[in-house]
C-alpha cells in the first residue's frame, strides 16, 4: 500500500539517503534499524513530507495506494500532502517533551487534527478526543484534555502524542524512536499500546529505532540501514537469526545480549577474601528542594535510603535502575559531591574517579587532549610534592595512556571538538585512569553511543580493569550492558537497593518481582 521507490535525499551536495526502496502492507510493522546518521530518520521524514526545506529529493518517488505523493524533480505538492498528513498518515516522534506545543492545552492540540480534517462540531470533537484518550490508556481523560504538556509525565505525553496520531485511524503510522526518551517500564507499556493499535486498526507501521532488541520484539519485517543504504531487508527472524550481511551480523553481535559475557573468564573471582576498596554502610542521601529564596521553605527529600554494599579490588559491580531511582545521587554521594548524607562511606583507594555519560561535556573544550591527560598528574603533584613529575615524564605518561585507550599519537595536540563521541569517551577513560586510581565510577558510560561503539568501549574498559586491577561501580539503566560488564549486580528502585548478588545468580534466580520485570523487558 505504501511504496518508496529508489529514494535518494541530499542536503546540499551530500546524499544522506541513497536509493532506498521499501514497501509496506496494511497491518504490517516494518522496522528500520540503524545507527545514528544512517539516514533512517530522514527517510521517514521524507515519507511524511516533513523533511526540512534544505533537503532535496534527488531520485525516486513515494506512492500511497498508487497515488504518487512525491516524485524526484517535481516540486512538493503541499496541499496534497496536507490532505494525507494527520488523516491517512501520521507520525509519533521521539521527544514527547518537546513535540507538543508548550503553551497550548493538550486537548486542543489533539483536537486540531479533527479540526483540520473533517466536519465535526465542537462537542463531537471533544467527545472523540476524550474517547481516544481513554483508548490510549489516559484514564483521567478530562484532566489531560485541560492540561498543558508540562503538567503531564513523559509517558502520558507520549500517549497523548499517540492519541493525536491515531485519532483518525490513519492507514500508516510512522513511529520515530517513540520510546527512546522513556524509562524501561514505560517503554514497554508504550510498545504494547502501539502494537495493540496496530492489531485493532490494522494500520501499517513504520517503526524506526536504533534498538535491535525492540525491533526484534515488535516488527514483522526489518530493514537495516547504514550510510543511507538499506543493506539488508527481511523478516525479523531472518535478520536476527541468519543475518546475511557482514554489517548486520556486527550490529546483532554488538547488542549486549546474554549470550556472551566479557567477564566470563573470571566470573568466579573470589569476593570477600580481599579487603574492599569501598565500603558503604547505611547510607542515605538527601537533596534540598525549594531553592534558596527567602519565601519558600526548604524541604529535604531522600534520594537514597539505607544503602549497604562494598566494592572489591578488580571487580565490577553493576548498579541498575530506572531514571530517578537514585543511582546518580548515590554515585555523587560516594564521590563527595553531595554532602547531605547519613551513614558511612569508607574509601580505601586514593582519589576515586568518574566517567560520565555524555562524552560531549566530559572534556574541557578549551584544552588539547595532551593537556587534559596531563592535568590529573599536575593536580596530584600540586597536592602531594612527592608525586610531582617532570614535564617530560608527564608527557610520556600521556602518550602512553593515549596508546592504551587505543588512540594514535596524532591526537595529542587535537581538541575535543575534533573527536567523535566514542573517541572522547576513550579520552575520558584515559584521563580518569592516568593517575592510577583503584576505584572508578562509570555512570552510563556507553548509553550515549551507537551499539558498535558501545561494544568497543566496554571491551576497552574490561581490558583496562584487568591491566590495572581496577574496581569499578558500573551504573546503567540497561540490564544487558550490566550483564555483559559486571561480576556482581545491584538492583535499585525508589532509592533502595532491593537486590544484590552475583550476576549469573541474579539473572537465573531473581528474587524480587521488580528484577524479574526488568529482566523480562531487557
Amino acid at each position: 500500500m505504501i511504496r518508496i521507490e529508489n529514494l535518494s535525499v541530499a542536503f546540499g551536495r551530500t546524499e544522506v539517503v541513497k536509493h532506498v526502496s521499501l514497501d509496506l502492507r496494511d497491518g504490517e510493522i516494518l522496522g528500520v534499524v540503524g545507527e545514528s546518521g544512517s539516514g533512517k530518520s530522514v527517510t521517514a521524514l521524507t515519507l511524511m513530507g516533513l523533511v526540512s526545506d534544505s533537503a532535496r529529493m534527488t531520485s525516486g518517488r513515494i506512492l500511497f495506494d498508487d497515488v504518487v505523493l512525491r516524485e524526484a524533480g517535481k516540486p512538493l505538492d503541499r496541499a496534497l500532502y496536507r490532505s494525507y498528513q494527520g488523516a491517512k498518515m501520521s507520525m509519533v516522534f521521539q521527544e514527547p517533551q518537546t513535540s507538543l506545543n508548550p503553551t497550548q492545552r493538550v486537548g486542543r492540540q489533539v483536537e486540531e487534527v479533527l479540526r483540520l480534517h473533517g466536519t465535526l462540531t465542537k462537542e463531537e470533537r471533544k467527545k472523540k478526543v476524550l474517547e481516544t484518550f481513554l483508548a490510549v490508556g489516559l484514564k483521567d481523560a478530562e484532566r489531560v484534555y485541560a492540561s498543558y504538556p508540562h503538567q503531564l509525565s513523559g509517558g502520558m505525553r507520549q500517549r497523548a502524542m499517540i492519541a493525536m496520531a491515531v485519532i483518525l485511524h490513519p492507514r500508516l503510522i510512522v513511529a520515530d524512536e517513540p520510546t527512546t526518551a522513556l524509562d524501561v517500564t514505560i517503554q514497554n507499556q508504550i510498545m504494547a499500546l502501539l502494537r495493540g493499535i496496530n492489531q485493532k486498526q490494522n494500520n501499517a507501521m513504520l517503526f524506526i529505532t536504533h534498538d535491535l532488541n525492540l525491533a526484534r520484539r515488535i516488527c514483522h519485517r526489518v530493514a537495516v540501514m547504514k550510510d543511507g543504504h538499506v543493506v539488508e531487508l527481511g523478516t525479523a527472524e531472518e535478520i536476527f537469526e541468519r543475518p546475511g550481511e557482514e554489517y548486520t551480523r556486527r550490529l546483532v553481535e554488538a547488542v549486549p545480549s546474554r549470550m556472551k559475557r566479557i567477564s566470563d573468564a573470571e566470573s568466579d573471582r573470589k569476593t570477600g577474601s580481599e579487603s574492599p576498596v569501598l565500603e558503604v554502610r547505611g547510607l542515605s542521601v538527601y537533596y534540598q528542594e525549594g531553592g534558596n529564596s527567602l519565601f519558600s521553605a526548604q524541604r529535604k527529600r531522600r534520594a537514597v535510603e539505607g544503602a549497604d554494599f562494598a566494592v572489591y579490588p578488580g571487580e565490577s559491580l553493576g548498579l541498575v535502575g530506572e531514571s530517578g531511582c537514585g543511582k546518580t545521587s548515590l554515585s555523587k554521594a560516594i564521590l563527595g559531591m553531595n554532602r547531605r548524607i547519613e551513614g558511612e562511606i569508607i574509601h580505601h583507594s586514593v582519589r576515586p574517579q568518574m566517567v560520565f555519560q555524555d562524552p560531549y561535556s566530559s572534556l574541557n573544550p578549551a584544552k588539547t587532549i595532551g593537556w587534559l591527560l596531563q592535568e590529573p598528574l599536575r593536580a596530584a603533584g600540586a597536592l602531594d610534592r612527592s608525586l610531582a613529575m617532570t614535564k617530560g615524564d608527564m608527557e610520556a605518561a600521556a602518550y602512553d595512556m593515549l596508546r592504551r585507550v587505543g588512540m594514535g599519537e596524532e591526537y595529542f595536540h587535537r581538541r575535543p571538538s575534533e573527536l567523535s563521541g566514542g573517541q572522547r569517551q576513550r579520552i575520558s577513560i584515559g584521563q580518569a585512569l592516568i593517575s592510577g586510581p583503584g576505584f572508578l565510577i562509570a555512570d552510563e558510560p556507553v548509553s550515549a553511543l551507537d551499539v558498535t561503539i558501545q561494544a568497543q568501549i566496554m571491551e576497552l574498559m574490561r581490558r583496562l580493569q584487568r591491566e590495572m586491577n581496577l574496581a569499578c561501580l558500573f551504573i546503567s539503566h540497561d540490564i544487558n550492558v550490566v550483564y555483559k560488564m559486571c561480576d556482581r549486580i545491584m538492583i535499585m528502585k525508589d532509592g533502595r537497593i532491593i537486590e544484590i548478588g552475583k550476576t549469573e545468580e541474579v539473572f537465573e534466580n531473581p528474587r524480587e518481582e521488580y528484577t524479574k520485570l526488568l529482566l523480562k523487558e531487557g
Binding site: N292, L335, M337, R351, P352, Q353, M354, F356, D358, S361, S362, L363, N364, P365, A366, K367, E375, P376, A379, A380, A382, L383, S417, S428, Q431, A432, S435
Partner: protein, 272 residues
C-alpha cells in the same frame, strides 16, 4: 562547529574591524595631532560647508570641524576604553567568584545587580554625576560603576553554567585547586561570550558618554567631545546642517562598527 573555518573571517567581523579600526586610529591620532588647531577661530571662514580644505566644513567660530571630530573621537575612545576596562575587570572578578561559589556574597551581589540592571543606566549615571560633579574622571568612574552589573550578570551566568559541567566535576575529583579551576579550567571557556559583551559594552559606553556630553554633564569645554559638538550644532541646524551631521554620523559609524564587530566575534566563536 565544523564550519568554524568558514566563519572565521565572516563579513561582519571584517566590516566591523575596518570601521572600528579606522575610527579608533583617527581618534588616537586626534589626541596628539589634528590638521588644524581645534581652538583656532577664524571669522572669515565661519560656516563654510564641507570642502577639500575642510572635510567636514567649519563651525560658528570658523573652527575646522574635522579636526574637532578627530579630537572628540579620541576623547570618546579613551573614555569608553577605560570604562570597559574598569567595568569588565571588576565584572569578571565578581562574576567568577559569585557564580562559582554562590552563597551569601552571591545573594548580596545579585540583589544589587538586579536593582541596577532594572534601572535606566543613564539615570543612575546622572545621580552619580550629581554627587561627584561632572568632568572626565567622573564620567569614567560613574559609567564604570553603572556597567559593572551587566558584566557580573553575564560572567556569573557562565560560571554557574560551567560550574556543574561534567568536565569541571571531573577536575574537582582529580583534586585540581579552586583557583586553578576558576581561572584555568573555566575562564578560557567563557572568553567568547565575554568578548561579545565587551563589544556591547563599548557601544553602551560610547552612547552614554556622548549622551552625557550632549546634556552638558559629561566632558566639559574646552575639551572637544562628539556630544558637546552636537549640542552646540543644534542651534545652527538650519544654516549649517553639516555641523550637526559630522559628529552625529561619527558616533553612528563608531557604534555601528562595534556592533558589527561584536556580531562578527559572536559568529566566529559560535556563541548564541
Amino acid at each position: 562547529m565544523k564550519q568554524a573555518g568558514g566563519t572565521k573571517w565572516n563579513k561582519y567581523f571584517v566590516a566591523g574591524l575596518l570601521m572600528t579600526g579606522l575610527a579608533v586610529l583617527l581618534g588616537i591620532l586626534g589626541m596628539f595631532w589634528t590638521p588644524y588647531s581645534t581652538t583656532a577661530m577664524s571669522a572669515a571662514e565661519k560656516f563654510s560647508p564641507p570642502s577639500l580644505r575642510h572635510f567636514f566644513g567649519t563651525d560658528n567660530f570658523g573652527r575646522d570641524i574635522f579636526s574637532r571630530v578627530m579630537q572628540g573621537l579620541g576623547t570618546t575612545v579613551a573614555i569608553s576604553s577605560l570604562v570597559v576596562l574598569f567595568s569588565g575587570g571588576i565584572g569578571i572578578l565578581l562574576g567568577a567568584l559569585t557564580g562559582y561559589f554562590g552563597g551569601l556574597l552571591d545573594e548580596a551581589v545579585m540583589r544589587v545587580t538586579d536593582a541596577v540592571n532594572g534601572f535606566p543606566s543613564i539615570l543612575l549615571t546622572l545621580v552619580i554625576i550629581s554627587i561627584l560633579g561632572s568632568g572626565r574622571q567622573n564620567v569614567i568612574l560613574s559609567l564604570g560603576i553603572v556597567f559593572v552589573p551587566s558584566y557580573v550578570r553575564i560572567v556569573r551566568g557562565e560560571f554557574i553554567r560551567l560550574r556543574d559541567a561534567d568536565y569541571i566535576s571531573r577536575a574537582r575529583l582529580m583534586g585540581v585547586g579552586r583557583l586553578r579551576i576558576l581561572f584555568v579550567h573555566i575562564l578560557p571557556n567563557i572568553f567568547s561570550v565575554f568578548w561579545v559583551s565587551v563589544m556591547i559594552g563599548f557601544n553602551n559606553a560610547i552612547l552614554a558618554e556622548s549622551g552625557m556630553s550632549y546634556l552638558g554633564i559629561g566632558v566639559q569645554a574646552p575639551d572637544a567631545s562628539l556630544g558637546n559638538m552636537l549640542s552646540d550644532a543644534q542651534g545652527y541646524l538650519q544654516s549649517a546642517p553639516w555641523y550637526a551631521l559630522a559628529p552625529g554620523l561619527t558616533i553612528v559609524w563608531l557604534v555601528l562598527g562595534f556592533s558589527l564587530f561584536g556580531e562578527g566575534v559572536r559568529r566566529r566563536s559560535g556563541v548564541s
